[in-house]
Amino acid sequence: MREKAEQIFVSALEIDAKEDLKVFLDRACQGDDRVRAEVEDMLALRPQLEKMFPEGGVVFALTDDFVKASQSLE
């Protein structure tokens, strides 16, 4: 079930309009309420995921000092 939910979740990420998303989920989940609940739960997490997993990784929340230091090595 998890794999199916993840496949639907990834595809659903590309759909912006709420109505389109509903139509897509109706079709993709085929009446499977558990899969649908799983997908909707993952979709609801999106704003929190971006905060918890910043682009560039945890290591690279860097200061000017680092950029200056690394430039001095060139």
């Binding site: 918890m52 560039g56 945890v58 290591v59």
Partner: protein
Amino acid sequence: MSEITLVLEAIKRGERLASEQLLPLVYDKLRNLAAARMAQENAGQTLQPTALVHEAWLQLAGDGSRSWQNRAHFFGAAADAMRRILIDQARRKSRLKHGGGQSRLDVDDLEIAATTPDEDALRINEALEKLEREDPEQARIVVLKFFGGLTNEEVAENLGLSERTVYRQWVCAKARLFRLVRPLEENDQGQQSPV
């Protein structure tokens, strides 16, 4: 072929001076990542990345006996080193915050305040250990992206996957990790509540 790959191949062939050429190249890579990171509005937390990179370098270079198959292999190991250092540091800070450790930290102790707070990093690491048991490939992608800061393209090269697969696995891994972290947070809150 990238310059880093050429240097790594030279190291593999046993050319001693090549090791000295690698560090500036790694710094350059990190600088580019840093510049991209800093362009984001919420960047600007304090840390001493130079110390972090030096510490990672010491772990990577060690006694010089390690060899690197290629660029992807090197950055994979770098991500592991970053993870160890950041998690060790977060554990130490957490112990101090909770009253452990009576002595002061060394002056040259790393001062790392990453975008995610230390305790978040610890919770993510704990959830990641669970994910490693359940789905090693997704977990590896998290290590490379979250701790190593690698791009999807670099992760794909590292793991021999397509970029599309890396993207799919990464977004799913984030959701799974978050859901693993949630019960951990609830447990933490439960432990802190008066019985």
